[in-house]
């Protein structure tokens, strides 16, 4: 019986994975027969093939329980039948699919633990799991520290990983991901990149020389409230989750909320819009926390931000369609970074100003950073170009992270060379 059950669960799992059969709504009942008459009733039930009943323990003798899996469509009628006959039963499993799903997850996790591999960078994770991994990285590497730069609207901590091998107030690089919460490949890539930098310091020449000269600050989940919302309620949520006075709609587009051409073209003043700029610049605590942190630090040389999708590598401006003063250098560096990205898997990124490449959009983060003296300001739009869009398969996380890292690295090397 225990082995049989396991075997049946296993074959159900196998069946489910091979043939798309699901067990949603299937229930497993345990039936306690009191006499021979009731056993015969169950044997009659067994013979009704159209019910598609699957007896795990067949009716044989009154003393033995009968366990039966019932497809969703037959559950009500079987229960009605049992009740009308006065036959006692209890529900062993409310929804078999839930059990199978949990089993699958448990199996995957234990397999992972057996391999000793810890955090799976090639999978999408919840906010809690991500925060746990940030703690893990900070505890494992002496030059990695987890700091809190503020709190979200719903009071979730905004955690930044600080990579610093010494010095005092070294010139620094800023990197953030997930400011738009539905862009899941960005938070996932940021985790991989954090781990890559931490684990390769000391062995990789480029990373080592970078961190020997500069500090790196990485905010993997810039919009935690939105991110949680994409897990619990709406996978397509983009904005923050702030309540807007006078409106039934929720949330501000955090990448229209920066003090750069705020309220100008390419942002909406309608709270229900996905590109709502908010009541005022920096009204969103998620934005203000970053602004304050960077201003107080005072020595940032680069501001890099990850978005998806479209495969673009952009520099200012978005709020106006004129070229920045450093156009030539940024265009050239952008092209070099795009070439680095392409070198790995052939993935092509288009390069240009925000305004020309994607659209005019005011209140964006890299426009703010650029106008505040941080020359090397770039925004990446990662994979893909629309086939999966926001719903990029987890199997593409690692390729996306790896190629993006090459582009970031190219930029960081240039910044390092110019900052010394």
């Amino acid at each position: 019986p225990a082995n049989m059950k396991l075997l049946l669960i296993f074959s159900a799992l196998l069946g489910a994975s091979l043939c798309l059969e699901t067990f949603v709504g299937h229930q497993v009942l345990r039936i306690k027969t009191k006499n021979e008459e009731e056993v015969k009733q169950l044997q009659l039930l067994e013979s009704l093939e159209h019910l598609e009943l699957d007896f795990w323990i067949n009716p044989s003798a009154p003393a033995l329980p009968v366990d039966v899996r019932i497809p969703a469509a037959s559950v009500q009628s079987v229960k009605a039948f049992l009740e009308s006959q006065g036959i006692e039963y209890s529900i062993l499993i409310e929804d078999l699919q839930d059990v199978l799903d949990k089993e699958r997850q448990d199996m995957a996790r234990s397999a992972q633990r057996q391999r000793g591999t810890g955090f799976d960078f090639g999978a999408y994770h919840t906010l809690d799991d991500i925060n746990e991994e940030l703690d893990h990285l900070a505890s494992e590497y002496s030059f990695v520290e987890k700091i809190q730069i503020g709190e979200s609207y719903e009071k979730r901590p905004l955690y930044v990983l600080k990579f610093s091998t010494g010095g005092s107030q070294r010139p620094a690089i800023w990197l953030d991901a997930g400011i738009h919460s539905r862009e899941w490949v960005t938070q996932a890539s940021a985790l991989w990149i954090a781990n890559k930098i931490a684990s390769d310091y000391g062995t990789d020449d480029s990373i080592t020389s970078l961190l020997d000269k500069m500090d790196l600050f990485l905010l993997p989940v810039a919009n935690p409230d939105g991110f949680v919302y994409t897990h619990t309620t709406n996978r397509m949520w983009r904005k923050t989750r702030s309540k807007i006075p006078g409106s039934v709609c929720v949330g501000v587009d955090p990448n229209r909320n920066w003090d750069a051409g705020f309220g100008g073209p390419g942002a909406s003043n309608n709270p229900c819009s996905e590109s709502y700029h908010g009541p005022s610049a920096n009204s969103e605590v998620e934005v203000k926390s970053v602004v304050d942190f960077i201003k107080n630090h005072g020595n940032f040389k680069a501001f890099l931000t990850l978005h998806s999708y479209s495969q673009l590598l952009m520099y200012p401006y978005g709020y106006k369609c004129t070229r920045p003063d450093d156009y030539a250098e940024l265009e050239s560096l952008g092209r070099a970074a795009a070439n680095s990205i392409r070198s790995l898997y052939g993935t092509t990124f288009q390069v240009g100003t925000i305004c020309k490449t994607i659209y005019q959009a005011s209140g964006g983060s890299i426009d703010w950073s650029y106008d505040n003296g941080i020359k090397y300001s770039f925004a990446f739009e990662l994979r893909d170009t629309g086939r999966y869009g926001f719903l990029l398969p987890a199997s593409q996380i690692l390729p996306a992270a790896k190629e993006t890292w090459l582009g970031l690295q190219r930029i960081m090397e240039h910044v390092r060379d110019k900052s010394s």
Partner: protein, 219 residues
Amino acid sequence: AMELPPSHFPAARAAAVAMGYLRYLRGGPGRGLQLRELRSARRQDIDDVGHKYYLELELEDVLDKDRTVNCTAEVLYPLGSQSSAPDVQLTVQGELRSTEEADKEFYTRIRSLEKELVAENIPDSHGNIPPELEPIHLLAWAASGYVIWQNSTENTKFHLAQVKHVKQVKRSDEDLQFDYVVLLHEMVSQEVLPWQVTLLWHPQRGARVSQCQGPAPGD
């Protein structure tokens, strides 16, 4: 006509319209056409008519990525009237890979289902699509291709974000019918909105949209 950089958005938006139209015309359960590269673009402003884009596209089939096929397209956005669909002319150079066998197999499989197919969230949150549902996903590309073609302007760029729901409806004639609720992502406004589309498909006759309804106001 002036030359347009392919990396700039006006050309990219016109290309998206051409792709929508192409997917509607030539898409099916066994074919998913995708833009590999926009080779070149020109724009011509025609007085009292509209803006016409001339495009050179390199296409690939997601089910056969080793090959590419070239295509030229003309996309004319009519002046003024926002309710008129862009006019698209396109020429595919050479042959697209035949999908006759896959189409027949899909057709037979669906026709022989006892219960009408129902599915939702394709892909799911993690980007997964069960292999058996890939043809349904590709048909959704054809269905949404129609919607994208019909509803695009120079200020929009649509992509299919997700199939929220699909229900097969058995018919007494030979067509397959799928009632879709598709989420379309519009890049400029960043809105993701539901559209209801009824798609008919037949191996020889191809795909046709028989009904289509956009989001309710205030959505």
